[in-house]
């Protein structure tokens, strides 16, 4: 166990959002440029979903909203979807995850898996509705939206991503928001 002085831990912690955005950028580049070599099933991976679920569960409201805005904006710029679709879609995912966190805080492997299952299922209903509201011409109630293979892949990758984000928080001395709300650091 590494023991650091409070100000050292605070400095490292302040880099957490930058690391998070950096990680997202790396994954974004991998996701959009490996279509030549990656199996085509990976094109169905909703990359930002686990980030939003994680921030909804573990970040203070202001910080979570700030990360949502930056990442959802970056995401929007990588797609031909009407501007606003992903901003609203991921805001709704963030809000749902936050509301769930009031009653259920996912901390263990199984609870995270359960949370991801619920959110991935909901996301496949929320996204077509939001896209439909933007008149994107999407098939709202197409069974393709709820393909079991795509759902399973997103649940498993989302679960792994959620655990990975937890590791980054540990390495950067970032605690869950309950602890931060009480004003206690974990350094």
């Amino acid at each position: 166990m590494l023991y650091l002085q409070t100000n050292q831990a605070k400095t490292i912690r302040s880099f957490n959002p930058i690391i998070m955005i950096g990680l997202f950028l790396v994954l974004l580049l991998v996701r959009t440029t490996t279509f030549w070599i990656a199996p085509s099933v990976f094109s169905n991976w909703d990359l930002l979903l686990p980030f939003m679920v994680y921030y909804g569960q573990r970040r203070p409201l202001f910080e979570g909203l700030l990360l949502w805005f930056v990442l959802a904006h970056l995401y929007t710029l990588q797609s031909v979807a009407p501007v606003g679709v992903f901003i609203i879609y991921y805001l709704l995912i963030f809000v749902v995850s936050r509301l769930i966190s009031e009653a259920f805080f996912a901390n263990s492997g199984m609870s995270i898996l359960g949370l991801m299952t619920v959110l991935v299922g909901l996301s496949r209903i929320i996204l077509p509705l939001v896209a439909g509201a933007f008149n994107s011409g999407w098939g709202l109630w197409s069974w393709n939206n709820l393909h079991p293979g795509i759902l399973s892949m997103n649940i498993v990758l989302g679960w792994l991503c959620y655990l990975g984000l937890g590791v980054i928080d540990q390495l950067t001395f970032k605690g869950p928001r309950e602890i931060l709300d009480l004003g206690e650091g974990i350094a």
Binding site: T32, W45, Q78, S79, V80, A81, G137, N144
Partner: protein, 238 residues
């Protein structure tokens, strides 16, 4: 001499045998090393061969694109696909050509295999293309055989498109070629869009439901041409 001669003869046979033994068994270490070296060289040669095949494939694609470009009567700018849409629910591609190359929003994007889509968003160096397979895309099209006119639009999570607004009395058959029109000056007329794959109509409807299989595989194209409108000349029409 007779004695020594025979002895020498046999000794020679014996030493030859020893030499053979040494070459085939004792000095096998050297052979093994040589073998490893040769295997390594073969691997490198195979790798080079694959690289050369890739270069050849790229050359062939560019040659085909150049031939296609020369066959078009409009100015075009070649571009390379550098990324795909981050969401599988929207079907777009990003190319390495932008405003400084004369690309503007709404311009058509084509490939030797057929129509790809239209420019959706553009920066100085890059452009996002809304492909014809995206549900938000709407491209004017005609059935090549009967000249029946409709609008091609994408379907979510599928490379099949719909040919919309086609009256039920119009003459459309399975495998009919669907081609572009010059309406709006976005595409040259007669470029292949796809082939009719399915036709259905409801008993009380006035329209036909027509599914079209796109000629271009959006997920496999690597190079495209952006059609520069006649009133917007390209700065880099190479």
């Amino acid at each position: 001499m007779w004695v020594t001669g025979h002895l020498q003869q046999n000794t020679g046979f014996f030493t030859q045998g020893l030499r053979k033994l040494a070459n085939h068994y004792v000095f096998l270490v050297e052979t093994a090393k040589r073998n490893e070296l040769l295997e390594k060289e073969i691997d490198e040669a195979k790798q080079k061969l694959i690289q050369l095949q890739e270069v050849e494939s790229t050359n062939r694609r560019w040659a085909s694109l150049l031939e296609f470009k020369n066959s078009l009567s409009v100015k075009t700018v070649p571009g390379q696909v550098i990324a795909h849409d981050i969401s599988s629910d929207f079907i777009g591609i990003r190319i390495d050509r932008g405003r400084k190359d004369g690309v503007a929003v709404g311009m058509g994007v084509v490939h030797p295999a057929g129509v790809v889509g239209t420019v959706y968003r553009v920066t100085d160096e890059f452009a996002d293309v809304l492909t014809l397979a995206d549900p938000a895309s709407n491209i004017d099209a005609v059935i090549q055989r009967s000249r029946a006119r409709g609008i091609i639009s994408g379907e979510s999570k599928s490379l099949h498109c719909k040919l919309k607004y086609m009256d039920r009395l119009e003459d459309v058959s399975q495998d009919d070629a669907v081609v572009s029109t010059s309406f709006g000056g976005v595409f040259p007329s007669g470029l292949l869009i796809g082939y009719v794959s399915e036709i259905s109509s409801t008993s009380n409807g006035i329209l036909q439901n027509i599914s079209v299989k796109t000629a271009v595989d959006i997920y496999r194209i690597e190079e495209v041409l952006v059609v520069i409108s006649s009133n917007q000349p390209s700065k880099n029409n190479t």
